[in-house]
Amino acid sequence: MSSTLRRRVLGPAAAIGALSLVLAGCAADTEEPGAGGAGGDADCAEYEQYGSFDGETVEIFSTIAEVEADNLELSWADFASCTGITIDYVSSQEFETQINVRAQAGDAPELAIIPQPGLLQRLIAEGYVVAAPDSVEANVDEFWSESWKSYGTVDGEFYAAPLMASVKGYVWYSPADFEENGYEVPATWDEMMALTEEMAANGADNAAYRPWCVGFASGDATGWVGTDWVEDAVLRFAGPEAYDQWVAGDLTFASPEITEAIELVGDILLDPAYVNGGFGGAESIVSTTFQDGGFPILEGNCSMHHQASFYEAQWGEDVTVAPDGDIWAFLTPPAAEGDPFAVTGGGEFVAAFSEDEATAAVQTYLSSDLWANNRVALGGVISANQGLDASLASSELAVQSIEILQDPDTIFRFDASDLMPAAVGAGSFWTGMTDWVLGELTTDQMTAFIDGTFPR
């Protein structure tokens, strides 16, 4: 009897408790944007140009989640309250498949933030994306370089403006480790190889030490880290024209230019004396996650780690990233001294699936210098927007990255695997690199395999 009574009382009580927890969570969520930095007392004068749309709702669909998503919502909080547009932000880990499904089903969001130009161009080719309004194109002409604009353009028609950016090809190192051993930041690729050799000789007494530490593992995207290495080598040794031809499929992986670049990468990644510090031999690269990849630097088991600017967030709170801090990064050096400054990078694009005016207003705002400054001031990200004030960036590395992106002499190329057809860029290029570092494919076998999957 008593046990049934207890069950009768406790069950609903527990349910109410759980429900109030859920509600408390919701309440906290809705209050947050108002309390945050960029929100609050908005000065609507800046937003007058975008017009007023009471009661309109614009859905933005994207991969960006958690803290980054909160910052994104903060970056347009003022815009939303001044223009009266409700921005309904939705993010999904399965964005890349879901956007196809939603577009095909006629249920596309008003706007999508697309991280791969390849995917963007496929959606444009299938006729789902509407051309950008003139106000967006004007912004892009004013604030972005030609190459950035070209990634959002198909057959001369401009569709999607870039949003944020990242710089790839950084080599992370410990300034203290370099100073202690008298290492110099290399100015050319050859110097980097000489440095690697010197480090391997110096570190011979530590069995777990190798000059480089590398992690390829990333779930079903395992291998993308390797493609970044090859892209950096291709851009530096074969040059930007060859890079573009390679992306377009006009230059095969088996061509001498690309094969040479792959072999240069192989000189590091396939040599058990040079990799994989703190983890094992070359074959341990594929089982090391990309998130963990650089940590042996902190333990002194490796000296260099090749990874994009976003890796800054991986180091954690108690590691200072600065030229005189615990960790700093140099850009992968050019092939020869005096070569033009070339970097690879990534970014997102905002594509519209609807022609209504509220959507166009949001799209215009997102392509403006105003948005870029608002968002970058919140920290954590950078943009290649020329109107961006680099001093607003949250860290020294971010300031440096923005300056690189804004420098008119920088040769910028988008991550090749994001530009290539998905069968290669999100498929055989990844798996090919993985099998190659495992030693299951030779360089020639790998290039033949990838070429065989390139849709032509």
């Binding site: 809705t30 196809n100 069995a207 777990a208 983890f279 031999g281 341990s284 069968a423 999100a426 798996t431």
Partner: protein
């Protein structure tokens, strides 16, 4: 807060309206079925009850099946007809042939091992002390999702090269204790496929055990006693009495596990994502169709999977029907 309630009301309100509309429609249909003209009333009543299910099957099963079959003959966008090119692709690409072979290995090994282990266990613990607890222990993995099991086993297989810190994975630690060299179980092809299969066997053994144990208890005691009186030893009893007595259940167990194995996706995807030569048809189908946007190639793999499942289902249905006739 107010937002929350309006939002919740909106969603639940829609749900309530939907349910009410559904009830009304069904009510009206049944009303008319009841009032149907005497002539052919059976037919109208049958139709009223079967039509909703048929309609859902049509929309959710028949139509997608036909469309997938059609897409298997089209290019990557699904718009252009390309004849048999996707089939040619499937049987000429070395990595897809590996995928097909892997699936064959899976579908032979998993049902065989799960059933053997499950049956042996069921026989040995039959009428033993603490049978219920022993059964629950083996049945527990069934309660874990495939993804959860994969994550557990990934830890078991974790690898650190010798001299680069302590082993995290229990299996490699055992190897190190007995003086061996740690292995990359999930990366070393072709054995990695078998290490994935272990996970599936671990899960399915419990299923086989529970069903077979129930079937063993259903074997008439008189026959068992008669066999014992005739002087049959344990093996002979098992071979000639138990086994024929549980044949029907055995077929159901094997076919069910075979079908589950053919469709295996979660384990492969969460442990290796189909890399290192471990991919199977279901995983490759998803990768091709959704990740790489090769709709035609994905569909041809889906069709292959369907064709592979078909004979097992047909066999299953036939055995079930024979059983019914015996009864």
């Amino acid at each position: 807060m107010a937002d929350f309630w309006t939002d919740a009301f909106e969603k639940f309100g829609v749900m309530v309206v939907g349910l009410a509309a559904f009830a009304v429609i069904v009510g009206v249909l049944l009303f008319f079925a009841d009032r149907a003209p005497k002539k052919g009333r059976d037919f109208w009543q049958l139709l009223a009850f079967v039509a909703p299910a048929m309609l859902l099957l049509l929309v959710g099963l028949i139509y997608p099946a036909i469309r997938t079959t059609y897409l298997a003959f089209t290019d990557r966008s699904g718009n252009e007809f390309v004849g048999l090119r996707n089939f040619e692709w499937m049987f000429t690409q070395p990595e897809i042939i590996t995928v097909l072979l892997n699936t064959v290995v899976w579908v032979i090994v998993v049902p065989l091992l799960s059933t053997i282990f499950g049956l042996a266990y069921a026989v040995f613990i039959d009428k033993a002390h603490g049978e219920k607890i022993l059964k629950s222990l083996v049945f527990l993995p069934m309660a874990i999702s495939f993804v959860g099991a994969s994550i557990i086993w990934r830890f078991v297989y974790e690898y650190r090269e010798q001299g680069f810190g302590e082993q995290i994975g229990i299996l490699n630690q055992i190897i190190v204790w007995v003086g061996g060299e740690p292995q990359q179980f999930l990366q070393n092809s072709p054995w990695n496929t078998f290490f994935l299969i272990v996970v599936m066997v671990w899960i399915q053994t419990g299923f086989a055990m529970v069903l077979l144990s129930a079937a063993i208890k259903g074997v008439p005691v008189e026959i068992v006693e008669a066999a014992r009186l005739d002087g049959a030893n344990a093996w002979q009893q098992f071979r000639n009495v138990t086994l024929p007595g549980i044949r029907g259940t055995l077929v159901v167990v094997i076919t069910t596990i075979s079908i589950a194995t053919l469709k295996v996706f979660d384990i492969v995807r969460s442990m290796t994502a189909g890399q290192f030569g471990t991919s199977v048809v279901a995983n490759e189908m998803y990768t091709q169709a959704f990740r790489r946007a090769e709709i035609g190639q994905g569909s041809v793999l889906a069709l292959t999977l369907f064709i592979m499942v078909l004979p097992i289902v047909i066999y299953n249905v036939r055995v079930m029907r024979q059983q019914k006739e015996i009864r």
